[in-house]
Every structure is written in structure tokens, then in C-alpha cells.
Amino acid sequence: MPIISMRRLKGRIRLSGKDTLIKLLVGAVALVLFLVAWQLFADSANTEYLPTPIEVLNAFVDSFSTKDPSSGVTMGKSIESSLSRFILGTFLAIGLAIPLGLAMGFFPLANAFGKPLIEIFRPIPPIAWVPFLFIVAGVIWGPVITIFLGVFFPVLSNVMFGASSVEPQLIDAAKTMGARKPTLFMRVVMPYTIPYLMTGIRIGLGIGWMCIVAAEMIGTRGGGVGAFILNNANIGRYDYMFAGMVMIAILGIVTVESASYIERRVSRWMGAKR
């Protein structure tokens, strides 16, 4: 089933300034409570497997200046490896999913051709590909292709759905003004699909982060934040392991939130706010 954007609907419910402030405060309280609970629990458990938040913070800061003993690189370098693969995989996925999705959404024959293939591959979680990909594609391209798979399908589904759901009246209107097939495609179908594309990208990016961490863990020789987490777990540096998890969370939030922001801006610019 195609994934439809709920965000566009939600965008209409605008909170007043005061409500927003209260919500932010409540959220902050939850965060503080969580940290306190974590601290208390770690203190009482007193096990090396669960460091306290303060220890994790120290390890986090430290990891940028000291080299990881197992891989010999700093956190900065790990982020660089992960991010570059992430960006490469994401761009490849988006670049391929857009033309395929448009074609399959708009041309019934392209749909009939592509659909069976897509339906076979879609249910396979990208992570299930990882062992195979490491054998044939190696430690660098393996994770890239894993991300590619994670981003590709949500973008494809959404673009396809967008292109197939263009209101027939808009097509008719364009035709009565003299538009032929190529023009219809360029000036009606494509712009109509852009908000759907943005939704697909946002969903795909979220899945993409899960994929890269898993992929880097299986082939730790390639480095990256996923490898950083597993390496530190293996040598018993659990505070550093947690620091790696925090880093993944931050990177995930930054990418998905910036994608959401762009999605909202694009939706408004495209006049999709109804």
C-alpha cells in the first residue's frame, strides 16, 4: 500500500504560542525524568554494561578527540564514513526512484511491467540483503546499497502513488488549453507529484539510518558509526558504545527533521495546503 502524507493534514492544526510553550515544557520534563531515571537505575544496578548518562556524555565528548582503539579512528571520521555512504545511497535511490515511480504511476504499461518485480523485492527487509551485499559489493558499497534499498522503496511507492492520483480534471483542464502528453507529464504530473516525493524521501531517510547502522555492524572493517558501536561493545567500552548510539540518534533526528522541514516548505510553496 502506498504511504500517504499525514503531515500535510496535520499542518493545518496550528497551535497558539502559549500551547506550544506548554507542550515544549512538558516534553522537556519527560526528557529530564528519563535522564534521572537512567542515572538512578545505572547507579543502583552498578554494572559496567550500563554506564550513567554523565559517563556517556564524557565518552561522547572524548570520542571526538581520541582514537578508537579497535579501528584507530575518531568519532569524526566514523561520522564521515557513515554520512558519505548515507548520502551516496540516498541520492542513488532518489535518482532512480523518481523516474521509475513517475513512469509506473502514469503509464499503465510501465506499471504492468514493473509491478511484479517491485512487489517481489519490496517485502525483503534491506538488512536481509546485507550478508549477500558484503560478499559481492564489499565493505564500502555493501552499506551504500543497503541504504539504497531502504530509501528506494518508500520514495518509489510515494512517487508512484502521486503520479497515479493526479486529479483527472487537472489533466482535462491542461488538455483543453492545448497540452499534449509530454507537456502534461512535465507541467501537470510532475509538479503534482512533488509533495508525494518529499513524503517518500522523509520516510526513506528514517529507514535509511536503520539500514546503515545494521550494515556497518556486519562488516565492521568498513568503519562508520555502526562499526564504532559494535567495536566498542566488543572491547568492553560500554560508555563509548552508548556514545555511538547517541550519535546515531542525533544524526537521524537531524536528517529526518531537515527533510520534514523541506517537505513542509515545499508543500506550502506548491500550494498543497488546502
Binding site: 486529479e167 482535462d172 500550494g271 498543497a272
Partner: protein
């Protein structure tokens, strides 16, 4: 000069089980250049199908449609269409909606701007050039729809229940506005409606269609001066006569062929 000529038009839709559905049968009509014709009929009588065939969006099963003597073989910029649900491009501003047809016809940007400004002014949208459709009221949206159809300078303006989605007051206002725009542009208008009141207020000639298969039941020329007074005795009498004609159709119901 005859702007639009419809000759022995037949439209049937193939159906698997019940046999073909005859939507329009033996429909013939000539429309003079500059004439305002309203087509009135019970719902499901094929009014919209008729208009879509004139627009070239659907092909007739039999018969012929000529616009300024040329047979209609598909959509073309000699006919402009206004839709009931506006059908504006949500991602385009008012101005860029109006310029859509001009862009397709590769009119130069300066020329496009001049033309769109003219029609923005004509339909009373000055100041809203850069607004997106979602920012406009229903009446304003349809002003864009009208300007967009006119920007291609079509010979015939096809209007498919253009005010059907508007509230009663806006509707009355838009009818007056349409007459003003029509007087200024002198277009040939084919206006589809199911409102007797609207048809009596607007038309030079009022064509009543039968239920399915739709054909012409009656034609009423209305030669009164405009603006017409809805409260006048003559208006009420005409409205009543037409209502009686229409009701006899609705009661007899559609026939299968």
C-alpha cells in the same frame, strides 16, 4: 457566422452486460458567433458528455462537431473550458494558472504577462496575482478559471456548471460578472446548468434536453434586455414554463436503449 455546429451527434458507452449505454442521441444545434446558449436538463441527461465532446475530451460515436467550420478532432485552444470544481493547478499562482495555455503555446514571457494582466483585470482579481488557489474563495477561484480559459482567446467558451459549487449569493454575483465579461469579450458561450433560474438570467437561447438518451426537447429564445429582473412577472412566467417542461422529463425518467 455560425461559431459552433453540432450535427446528428450520437454518443454511446460500451457496457459488457446491459448492452451499450446511449448517452446522447441525434443532437443537432447551431450556435451563432457571440451567442450565449444555456443547456438545461435533468441530471444524467448527458449535458457534461456533450460539453466534453465539444471540448474534444471525448470522441463522438457518430455525428460531427464543427467550430468555426473546422471539425473537432481533439482538444484545442479554439475552445476554452471552465470546470465546476475549478480544476486550478494548486501549485501555480493566479497569474501562472492564467498563463498556462500561453506557456504551452510558447507565447513570449513579456507577452504572456501582458495578456494575463489584462484578464486578471477583466475578471476583477487585481491584487491577487501572486496568491495560490488555496488562498482564494470559491468565487475567486472560478474567476481564475474563467480568466484562464479566456487567456487562450478561444472562439467558444465552454462552461460546465461553473457556479454549481458556489453559494447562492456568490452565484448570483458571478452570473452578473460573467455577463459583464461576456459583453466585453463577445465570446460564444455554451453554458451548462441544471438551474432554471440561472439559465433564464443568462441565456440568449435556452436549450432543454431530454433524459437519457439526451437530445433536444425544446429551445427557448430569450430576447430580453440585460440585466434581467428576477423579480419581474415575465421572468417568473418563463421560469415556470421551463420548469414544467423539465419536470415532465424528470417524471418520465431515463429510458434504456
Amino acid at each position: 457566422m455560425i461559431a459552433l455546429s453540432i450535427r446528428d451527434l450520437v454518443k454511446s458507452f460500451p457496457r459488457e452486460v446491459e448492452g451499450d449505454l446511449m448517452a446522447i442521441k441525434d443532437f443537432s444545434l447551431d450556435v451563432e458567433e457571440g451567442e450565449f446558449v444555456c443547456i438545461l436538463g435533468p441530471s444524467g441527461c448527458g449535458k457534461t458528455t456533450l460539453l466534453r465532446m465539444i471540448a474534444g475530451l471525448d470522441a463522438p460515436t457518430k455525428g460531427e462537431i464543427l467550430v468555426m467550420g473546422n471539425t473537432v478532432r481533439g482538444p484545442g485552444s479554439d475552445r476554452g473550458m471552465v470546470f465546476q470544481e475549478f480544476a486550478l493547478f494548486p501549485w501555480r499562482t493566479v497569474r501562472r494558472n492564467i498563463e498556462f495555455g500561453l506557456e504551452i503555446r510558447r507565447v513570449k514571457p513579456e507577452e504572456r504577462r501582458k495578456i494575463s494582466s489584462h484578464y486578471i483585470e477583466l475578471v476583477g482579481l487585481a491584487g491577487f496575482e501572486d496568491a495560490h488557489p488555496y488562498e482564494l474563495s470559491g468565487g475567486m477561484k472560478q474567476r481564475v478559471g474563467i480568466a484562464r480559459a479566456l487567456a487562450n482567446d478561444p472562439k467558444v467558451l465552454l462552461m460546465d456548471e461553473p457556479f454549481g459549487a458556489l453559494d447562492a449569493q456568490t452565484r448570483n454575483l458571478m452570473q452578473k460578472e460573467l455577463l459583464r465579461i461576456w459583453k466585453e469579450t463577445r465570446k460564444t458561450v455554451i453554458f451548462i446548468t441544471h438551474s432554471v433560474d440561472e439559465a433564464c438570467f443568462l441565456a440568449d437561447r435556452l436549450v432543454i434536453m431530454t433524459t437519457r438518451p439526451g437530445t433536444i426537447k425544446e429551445v427557448f429564445p430569450i430576447t430580453w434586455e440585460r440585466p434581467r429582473d428576477r423579480a419581474s412577472v415575465e421572468f417568473a412566467a418563463l421560469r415556470k414554463r421551463i420548469l414544467v417542461e423539465l419536470e415532465s422529463e424528470v417524471v418520465s425518467g431515463p429510458q434504456r436503449t
